[in-house]
Every structure is written in structure tokens, then in C-alpha cells.
């Protein structure tokens, strides 16, 4: 018996009281969907968890209509203070039911309970707490006094952080005064439906948040529906399709898409921390992370040492039951994703990289992939260019900071990057030159509601988190003509009196004020 073998310590499922069937959450109630229902399963053992309704185009239209009514009659008229109080209530309810949510998340998604319990769910509560406080302080959001909500937000989220992505989307939208129709991912709808129950407990007015479950067609229907804002997190391919779909409309869009982050390790890095950071960077959440540090760039003179120590460390990771409190690596979320990871790994070998997988036993049932490292990877290899979205790390080397920067930026993505060095001035200089939206220095995969998150280039546009994330759901109060008057005021003192005497009318109607908000599609 090695020191790694000890008794199972599973978190109890008894805390869950799941229903056998879940409907769509529209206008404050669960209703039947008109699409064909589907089963959500646990990826760890392929057991059925519950039957989930599927929303067709009419269901989506109903949800959007409910959101529109709630926006016009209730939410847009409510004070920011009261909106904030609802969000505080939600944050508290999430904390109260934290363990239940964590168990449900690990069951439905396959991620280790220690991650859902210690990362996902606490951040969900933090996100609602953070944005709750903004609701009555929108004048300070950076868009000038009295900014407007956009209206109805259609939000489509992925399966890798189901409840956390829900919080990233719903909290700022509601704080800014929008109402919401959210579509969870097909394979992970469970916690969104538990969240709907939390909304009922919070007595959030009906229609302010609507949740429509289903597959990709449901999401496409939502993007096409009469919404004022589209927020999407997911693959770059789908993001591109959404950008085309909304072209020519007045819909405001934010896209948080794929990544192929470089994690750069200089030879003066604190090596123990770096090894932990590299492991956390790519093997956190089975590598199902858009900002995962999937390309390790190691300075050439420490390459062999880093690779050896990584292999040692990976050999101690425990892969298995997501609900076991000792599990480090959980299940791959779906059969389809597992196939994609296997395919790209095979391509890695075929293209000449050397594969090493941690020697761990994979359970017979469910979807599993051992933590894997590829060495001898070249920048032209597909495993160095394409997002694997799994526990697969590609190792490349570099000699000079310039080479590291060039290699790191040699990707159409630009979501995140990591830098490991003991030299502060070098960290800041390298950070300046990396074309990525989030950069972690001597750490990786840190998230906080106060910290903006989002990508450069083909990793999407717009930010989530912080003041910037709030701005994604707001428009300035001023119409374009009012802004012009302000600028005349700024550049020509003589025109000032005139501009003040005739303030441009604040365009309040939904359509006209949106058309004034042209630069919005950033």
C-alpha cells in the first residue's frame, strides 16, 4: 500500500433532494417545454440524474416576452437599492445552500467536489455580493450619470463552470437593471434549475430571470430572439456564428471564447510554486477551462528539471469519483469532449510530440482521461495551436524573453497568460507585451468578481467582472447629440452657453436610445 492509497471519503448525496423531471423556468414558474426532453447524466458513471425539458423557439419567445414584461413593468421601475437587495438575498441563499449546490455541480459536471465546494460555489456567492452593491451606484460605473439598462439580455453559458458562469452573467445584468433569459449548457443544466428554486425563495419578481434548457438550437433561438443584449461564453466557432447572426442588428454583444494560454516559466522562477501553478493552470477542472495554461513555455536551461518534476507531481494526483473529497482530477464532462481530447492527443503523437500520461487507473464507467504531458512540441503542432479543453499540456521551450513573448503571442487567441519569475521588472515588461486579457504573475487561474476577465483577438470581446463587466450591461444616458454638445463645449467655449441652454433630450425609448449607442459592439 503506497502512501497515496487511503479510504474513500465521498461527500454525501443525501443533501440533494432532486426532482425526477425539471421544466423550463419562465415567468417565475416551472413549465413544460415543447421540445423533446433529454436526460442529464453524471459523467463519472453515466447514471441518469433527471429528465430536463427542452425549449423550442416558441418557448424561447415566451421566455423573452416574460423578461420583456418584467423589464417594462417591474425591474426598470424598481430602485437600484431594491434591485441590490434582491441580489444580496440571492447571494445569501447561495451561501446557505452552498453544499447542496456543490454536490449537484460535481454530480452533473464531473468536477472534483473540492473545486465545486471551495472555488465554484464560493465565487458564485461572491459574484452576487459584488454586483449587488453596484445596483444603486451605477452613476459611478464610468458611463456618466444615470446610465440606462439595455433591456432584455439573452445569455448562453458553457458546461465547464455551470453555476459560476450563470453568476457571471446574471449578477451584473440584474444589477444594471436588465432582465434575463439564460440558457445553460445541454450537459450541465442541473444547478441552473436549483438556482431557479433559489430565485423563488428570494421572491425575485416573476420574469426577471428565465431559464430555458436545451441544446445548441435553443441557444441559437435565444440569440435570434427579441433581446437587446447577447452574452455568450463558449467556443470561438460558436462565438463567430453569433457575431454573424447579430450583424446588422442593434444588439449589444459580449463574447468570452476559447484560449490557448502560454504559461511562461523563466529560469529564476520560484520552482516549487511554479510546478504547483503549472499543474493548477492546466489540470484544474480537468483542463476544461478557457483560460487554461495549455502551452507551457519553459526556459531551455530548466526544461528537463521542470518536466521531471511535473511528471513526479502528476503521478501523485488522484483521479476518480468527483464526489470524493480527496479527488484531484474528476471526470471529463461528456463522451463528445472525451473523443475530442483523444483525437487531438493522437494527433499530437502523430505529429511527432512525445506523450506521457500519469500512471493512474481509470474507472470502468464514465468518461476519463489521465493527466497528460506532451514534450518536444513545436509551434506548428495542432496541440500547440488548437484548444484541447482537457487535461493535456504541451511543453515548448525558449531561450530569451523576446522569444517567449513571440511564441506566447503566436496564436489567434488572447485570453490569458502566466509568467513565473522572481524578477518583478521582467514580469511587468513581459506582461506589457503579451496580447492577452488576463495575466497571472507567479499564480494562475485566479478569479474574483472585482477583476475584469475577457480576451483579446479571437478570444472574444467585452469583459466580465469588475466595473468593466457592469459596463457591458449599460449604455450612457446621453444620446449622441448630447455627447456632441458636450464635445463642442469642450473644444469651443463660445458654444457652451448654447449647449447648456438646450440640453439634448435624453432619449428614453428603447429603440431610439439603442440606435444612439453605436460604438457599443466593442
Amino acid at each position: 500500500m503506497s502512501f497515496l492509497e487511503y479510504a474513500p471519503a465521498p461527500e454525501s448525496r443525501a443533501i440533494l433532494s432532486l426532482r425526477d423531471r425539471y421544466g423550463l423556468f419562465i415567468d417565475g414558474e416551472f413549465v413544460d417545454g415543447r421540445g423533446t426532453p433529454f436526460q442529464t447524466i453524471s459523467p463519472a458513471n453515466e447514471e441518469r440524474i433527471a429528465e430536463i425539458a427542452s425549449a423550442n423557439t416558441e418557448d424561447v419567445a415566451d421566455a423573452v416576452a416574460a423578461a420583456r414584461r418584467a423589464y417594462e413593468r417591474v425591474w426598470s421601475k424598481m430602485s437600484g437599492r431594491d434591485r441590490g437587495k434582491y441580489l444580496f438575498r440571492i447571494a445569501r441563499l447561495v451561501q446557505e445552500r452552498a453544499r447542496e449546490l456543490a454536490v449537484a455541480e460535481s454530480l452533473d459536471n464531473g468536477k472534483p467536489i473540492k473545486e465545486s465546494r471551495d472555488v465554484d460555489v464560493p465565487l458564485v456567492a461572491a459574484w452576487f455580493f459584488y454586483y449587488a452593491g453596484w445596483a444603486d451606484k451605477l452613476d459611478h460605473a464610468g458611463l456618466g450619470a444615470d446610465p440606462r439598462a439595455l433591456g432584455v439580455a439573452g445569455q448562453v453559458i458553457p458546461w465547464n463552470f455551470p453555476l459560476l458562469m450563470l453568476a457571471w452573467k446574471i449578477a451584473p445584468a440584474l444589477a444594471a437593471g436588465n432582465t434575463v433569459v439564460l440558457k445553460p449548457a445541454e450537459t450541465t443544466p442541473l444547478t441552473a434549475l436549483l438556482f431557479a428554486e433559489i430565485l423563488q425563495q428570494a421572491e425575485l419578481p416573476a420574469g426577471v430571470v428565465n431559464i430555458v434548457t436545451g441544446a445548441g438550437e435553443t441557444g441559437a433561438a435565444l440569440v435570434a430572439a427579441d433581446v437587446d443584449k447577447v452574452a455568450f461564453t463558449g467556443s470561438t466557432g460558436v462565438g463567430r456564428a453569433i457575431a454573424k447572426q447579430v450583424a446588422g442588428t442593434q444588439k449589444k454583444v459580449t463574447l468570452e471564447l476559447g484560449g490557448k494560454a502560454a504559461n511562461i516559466v523563466f529560469d529564476d522562477a520560484p520552482i516549487d510554486q511554479a510546478i504547483e501553478g503549472i499543474v493548477n493552470g492546466i489540470f484544474f477542472n480537468q483542463g476544461h477551462v478557457c483560460c487554461a495554461g495549455s502551452r507551457l513555455l519553459v526556459q531551455e536551461n530548466i526544461h528537463d528539471e521542470v518536466v521531471d518534476r511535473l511528471k513526479q507531481r502528476l503521478s501523485t494526483l488522484r483521479l476518480g469519483d468527483p464526489l470524493d473529497k480527496n479527488t484531484d482530477i474528476g471526470a471529463i464532462n461528456s463522451a463528445a469532449q472525451l473523443a475530442r481530447i483523444r483525437e487531438l492527443s493522437d494527433v499530437g503523437v502523430a505529429e511527432g510530440a512525445e506523450r506521457w500520461s500519469a500512471p493512474c487507473e481509470l474507472p470502468a464507467e464514465g468518461f476519463w482521461f489521465a493527466p497528460t504531458i506532451f514534450t518536444g512540441v513545436e509551434t506548428s503542432h495542432r496541440i500547440a495551436r488548437e484548444e484541447v479543453f482537457g487535461p493535456v499540456l504541451s511543453v515548448l521551450s525558449f531561450r530569451t524573453p523576446q522569444e517567449a513573448i513571440a511564441k506566447a503571442n503566436n496564436t489567434p487567441y488572447g485570453l490569458s497568460a502566466g509568467i513565473w519569475s522572481d524578477k518583478g521588472s521582467r514580469i511587468l515588461a513581459v506582461a506589457d507585451q503579451l496580447r492577452a486579457g488576463v495575466i497571472w504573475a507567479n499564480t494562475f487561474n485566479r478569479f474574483d468578481p472585482a477583476s475584469p476577465f475577457g480576451g483579446y483577438k479571437e478570444s472574444g470581446y467585452g469583459r466580465e467582472g469588475g466595473r468593466h463587466g457592469l459596463g457591458a450591461y449599460l449604455a450612457p444616458a446621453t444620446s449622441r447629440s448630447a455627447r456632441a454638445a458636450r464635445a463642442v463645449e469642450a473644444s469651443a467655449p463660445a458654444a457652451k452657453a448654447d449647449a447648456e441652454a438646450k440640453p439634448a433630450p435624453a432619449e428614453r425609448s428603447r429603440r431610439t436610445s439603442k440606435s444612439a449607442e453605436k460604438g457599443a459592439a466593442k
Binding site: L257, D448, P476, R483
Partner: protein, 286 residues
């Protein structure tokens, strides 16, 4: 006996040089009353691609310049434009058929707009960025950085002011620009390029194309090395197709604006061509 004047050949402005269109094409530019003014260069797809290459080459230097330096260079443009005010007034008067006072007002506003944007260069990051109080021992800072290469379809109904209103804000943060000038009023755009060429604006930072926006814009919209597309003056084009083409590489797209206050000076126009970068740095006494 009156002196015979020396008319100017109006060419493109790419990478700091004034080439003719590689296609050899020109088109006739006439005054408001229909008289001949010049044969302007009619830029081709190749010219547009050359301009993007020049712009890409200029991004690192311009974005890497200090904000103070960028502000001084932009202010320098205003100084030189002021010195050539009479030339621009005459050009606009003739091309647009407006009164001297109206042409003068347009030039004055254009000059003042450079001054206004010049002043933002070393300030907008303080307004658009911030420190983030994250729950942990981290120094966490969000700053705006330039998006990269910005392709612009300039407002089509003015010679100078529309062009300046579209180009100046993109330059503030450190982007490089490829701009398609007004098809009907292209001459002031090339005269402005002469100002830019002598204002310490590094070569390639601004590239000016004249010709048909309907012909050139699709190549810029689909160009994989363009990061953002400003369609401010593209209202009369099939701009939805341009937005769709831009989606292939997820360019940031700014939709068309109509009316007298199109491209009005705002902080949003600067920030709209930036990306927020957030850097987390550990704090430790160790």
C-alpha cells in the same frame, strides 16, 4: 500677366510614403459645381493590403511610445494643420461648395479636435482602467491597451472633420490606422496626410486610401490582420455584409453613424479601440 499655377498630384499615403495606386487607376474629383479638381488615386485591394502591412509594422512602436509622447505628436498635428489652415479652407470651399466661413469652421473644428484628443493620450488610462480589490494577496490592475490595426471607413459627407474625428481617437491609445477617405471629397485627406507625414507621426501609423469604399472596405473587413473595423462612414454601403465578414476573425466592429454629429468626440471612441488587460501579481514578504 497672371502666374500659371502648379497643381498637385494627389496620391495615396502608405507606410509614410505617397505612392500611386499599384493598379495605376485614378478617378476624377470634381468641385461642387462640376469643375475638374484632380485625378485622385483609386486604391485597389493590393493597396489596402499594403496599407495593413504598413500599419501592422507600426503598431509596436506607436503603442510602445509613452502616452506623453503620443499626446505631443497628436498636438503637433494640430500645430501643423493650423499653419496650413488657408490651404485646407480653400480646398474645402472648392470641393464642398460651401462658404469660406463654413469651410473655415470645419478646419477650426478639426484642429481643435486634434488638440482635444491629444490631451487624452496620457489621461484616458486613468479613467478607463482601475485597481481591483480582489479577495487575496494580489496586486491586481486593469489597464486599457490598443486593439492593434484599426480599419476605418471615414464619414463620407465631409472633407476633413469627419476624417479627423474618426482617425484621431483611434490613435490616442496607440492603434495604427488604415482609413478609406470620403470618396467624393478625398483631396483634403491626402493634404492631411502631408501634415501627418511632417508631424512626427511614425510612418505606417496612419495610412490613407482614396477611391471607392464599396470596393476597398470588404478587403479590409475580411483581412485577418485587422483587429477592429470602424464603419462610422459606411452607412451607405452594404455594411451588414462588412460586419459579417469581420466576424470571421472576431474583429471589434463599430456600426455606422449618420448625421452631423457622426463620430462626435467622446471618451468612448478612444476606449472603443482598446482592450482591457488585467494583471494579477502575487504579494509576499518572503
Amino acid at each position: 500677366m497672371s502666374r500659371l499655377t502648379v497643381p498637385k498630384t494627389y496620391k495615396l499615403f502608405i507606410g509614410g510614403a505617397f505612392p500611386r495606386s499599384e493598379s495605376g487607376r485614378t478617378y476624377e474629383v470634381t468641385s461642387a459645381s462640376g469643375g475638374f479638381l484632380a485625378n485622385a488615386a483609386k486604391a485597389s485591394r493590393k493597396d489596402a493590403r499594403d496599407a495593413v502591412v504598413a500599419a501592422r509594422g507600426a503598431v509596436a512602436g506607436w503603442a510602445g511610445a509613452t502616452a506623453y509622447n503620443r499626446g505631443q505628436v497628436l498636438y503637433r498635428i494640430a500645430e501643423l494643420l493650423e499653419g496650413r489652415r488657408a490651404q485646407f479652407v480653400a480646398e474645402i470651399e472648392e470641393a464642398e461648395g460651401v462658404s469660406r466661413a463654413a469651410a473655415g469652421a470645419q478646419v477650426d473644428e478639426a484642429i481643435d479636435r486634434w488638440v482635444w484628443y491629444a490631451g487624452w493620450a496620457d489621461k484616458f488610462a486613468q479613467v478607463a482602467g482601475n485597481a481591483n480589490p480582489v479577495a487575496g494577496p494580489y496586486f491586481n490592475l486593469s489597464v486599457p491597451e490598443p486593439t492593434g490595426v484599426v480599419a476605418i471607413v471615414a464619414p463620407q459627407d465631409s472633407s476633413l472633420l469627419g476624417l479627423v474625428s474618426a482617425v484621431a481617437p483611434a490613435l490616442v491609445a496607440g492603434n495604427a490606422v488604415v482609413v478609406v477617405a470620403s470618396e467624393r471629397f478625398p483631396l483634403s485627406a491626402i493634404s492631411l496626410a502631408e501634415v501627418l507625414a511632417t508631424s512626427d507621426v511614425p510612418k505606417g501609423v496612419v495610412n490613407v486610401l482614396t477611391g471607392s469604399p464599396a470596393e476597398i472596405a470588404p478587403w479590409l473587413a475580411s483581412h485577418a490582420d485587422v483587429n477592429a473595423l470602424d464603419l462610422v462612414g459606411a452607412g451607405a454601403l452594404d455594411w451588414i455584409e462588412l460586419e459579417i465578414a469581420a466576424a470571421d476573425t472576431l474583429k471589434r466592429v463599430h456600426r455606422p453613424e449618420q448625421g452631423a454629429d457622426a463620430a462626435a468626440p467622446t471618451l468612448e471612441r478612444i476606449v472603443g479601440f482598446t482592450e482591457t488587460k488585467t494583471v494579477w501579481h502575487t504579494k509576499s514578504l518572503r
